[in-house]
Amino acid sequence: MSADIIQARTPAESLLASTFDESKARLPGNACVAKWREDAFKVFTASGLPHRRIETWHYTDLRSLMREALPVAAAPGAAILSSLRKEFAADGAGAARLVLVDGFFVPELSSGLPEGIQVRSLASVLTDGRSDLLALLASQDLGQDLGARDTIVALNAALMQDGVVIEVAPGTVIAEPLHLIHVAASPVPAAHFSRSALILGAGASIRLSESCHAVYRPGTVPASHANACLILSLGDGARLTHTAMVTGTVADSVRIETLVARLGAGVKFDSFALVSGIGLVRRQLFVRFEGSGAEARLSGVSLLGGREHADTTLFVDHAAPACVSRETYKYILDEEATGVFQGKIHVAPSAQKTDGKMLSRAVLLSDRAAMNNKPELEIFADDVVCGHGATCGGLDADQLFYLQTRGLTLPEAEALLLEAFAGELIDGLGHDGLINTFRCEVKAWLSSRPKALMPPAPAGAIA
């Protein structure tokens, strides 16, 4: 006897379905795109929000963690744009900057694009229907790659409102970062769906620096559900250093980021993310080596407290020979926070001489914090070097004692060790401005930690 289990739709899933039905006529795109959206939404409805019985989402059960869906954000109004204009004019006018407000690309807030870089809004690309760009944008939905048919990517395709499509001409070399800023501006709780792409021509070399920006003061930011997808296509010999600062949302916010990278021969690709001060974050990275001799270094630091939840899930597909991948992720978990690291490395039969190393390290500062590690290696080639490691633990008691005997209080000693733990990956970014920005964020997080670990004041101490 067999039984099909048909799950009832959750309120969140029902709202997403009605949102799609109501808005699909208004969402940008030509007839092909409309068909793509319909197909993608069928993929989503077939299994609904990912839940614990879906292997790759086991530790981030979105079905139960995201009880409600939020209405989709409208394009930003004039008042918000004018206040943002002032804000951006105030800080560093010289920087090359692309701004997405609630997922909508706002060219008038963007500035300083160097020569060799061309930018279009996703909406215009979907409407114009240039076939090569559409093929790239849809590659994760339609392809057979690892993680294809991910329901969250499908939901993103169905509802994507806008984003940027950046093309960098072959051979363009720019040392200063191109900033991609995600602004949360909706005055009411809202969801946004954005999809962006970066196409780096052969031999081009740039830095892409993503960050979050909230219009509202901390404590008054409305909740948001963000589903953002970034698709990278790196031509032969290209070099991309990507950094992402994922910060500043509120406790009941959900942020899901999907990064898809296709690497040509001889590419050097670095991607670092700092996750802190968030509600629930899932970052999923699909990296595929398509040409030989490429290198990818994926790394990140998650600083979590309260009941925050951060999930980093990697799918690294070695489909070409002699490529090197390094994955290093660190977590600092306080209070009741939950960290998730899943890393799957797939080495195809033809990908001989692959060199892959994956490492996850977590420091747990509270008995109630939890860390879930799931490394997976699938190796079908016989001449490879691959390894993985995972550690979880508290701070080293000998190191703490040593620092205390030199006069540092326990909280000071902890902060010094934690800063060093997180800072190691940041120091490797190779750009002083970025190093400083990320270091400051780590310091700010450490100094805002609840001082629960402070030893009790000695009796009779004068406050």
Binding site: Q399, L403, R406, G407
Partner: protein
């Protein structure tokens, strides 16, 4: 002045220090010798404030103040310094950053002003050159990749910067070649002062040829079993610890 009175300490129910008494006066260099496992390192760690041990009886008094209820950093601010047998490696923390944090933390506790960076650098450079510590070492992560000798010199550098009123050197001579031993000993001798006491823990007399002690104490089975002048160290070098090694007779 350091006074250890009737100190009994255990770990996991096993007694390590047994009614130990020891007094080291200001300006005095006391050597503490004894066989492996006699409790010398435990004594140094308990004085510095390590929490793994259970203090069953007794007290530890530094300059008239009882230390047992104080955190290790408070003891440090009160003038106590421990040079570790195995200085700890701290990856990711630049040595200079650590030295500045440590020095300023203590100055703050003592009600002194924090040092400016130029003043701090001037001080570090002066002490470092005496201990043959080069600038490159100061820029590296604390003790990471340092040789045994470099680690010990780094501990002595910290002692010189922090200017404690009482310093414990826990087998500072272990793992040192004769040249490094001389550099370390000169560093210690330079800090000898009428107001500063030292407890020098060692297995061998060799260090005491360079840092000549005022008194020598022999420890066995968690207590001081013999005390004397510097000639006691010479005697021990000849006779070994066999006279002290026998378990005390059970009544």
């Amino acid at each position: 002045m350091l006074e250890v009175k009737n100190l009994s300490v255990s770990i996991n129910g096993r007694k390590i220090l047994d009614c130990l008494d020891l007094t080291v006066r200001d300006g005095e260099v006391a050597a503490l010798m004894g066989p492996n496992g006699s409790g010398k390192s435990t004594l140094s760690h308990v004085i510095a404030g390590r929490k793994d041990y259970t203090v069953e009886t007794g007290e530890i008094v530094l300059n008239g103040e009882s230390l047992l209820d104080l955190e290790p950093d408070v003891r440090a601010a009160k003038g106590l310094f421990l040079a570790f047998q195995y200085p700890i490696e701290i990856p990711g923390v630049a040595t200079l950053t650590f030295l500045k944090a440590s020095l300023n933390a203590q100055r703050k506790r003592r009600g002194q002003e924090e040092l400016s960076t130029p003043d701090f650098m001037k001080r570090v450079k002066a002490v470092a050159s005496k201990l043959k510590i080069n600038q490159d070492m100061l820029k590296r992560a604390l003790n990471v990749g340092f040789s045994g000798g470099e680690k010990k010199r780094m501990d002595i550098l910290q002692m010189a910067l922090l200017e404690p009123s009482f310093a414990i050197l826990d087998e500072t001579d272990s793992g040192l070649d004769i040249d490094a031993l001389r550099v370390v000993a000169q560093g210690v001798n330079a800090l000898r002062a009428p107001g500063r006491g030292f407890l020098v823990i060692t297995h061998y007399q060799r260090l005491l040829d360079y840092v000549v002690p005022d008194s020598v104490h022999v420890m066995a089975h968690g207590r001081i079993v013999r005390s004397g002048g510097k000639e006691l160290a010479v005697e021990l070098e000849k006779s070994g610890y066999r006279d002290f090694n026998a378990e005390p007779a059970v009544a």
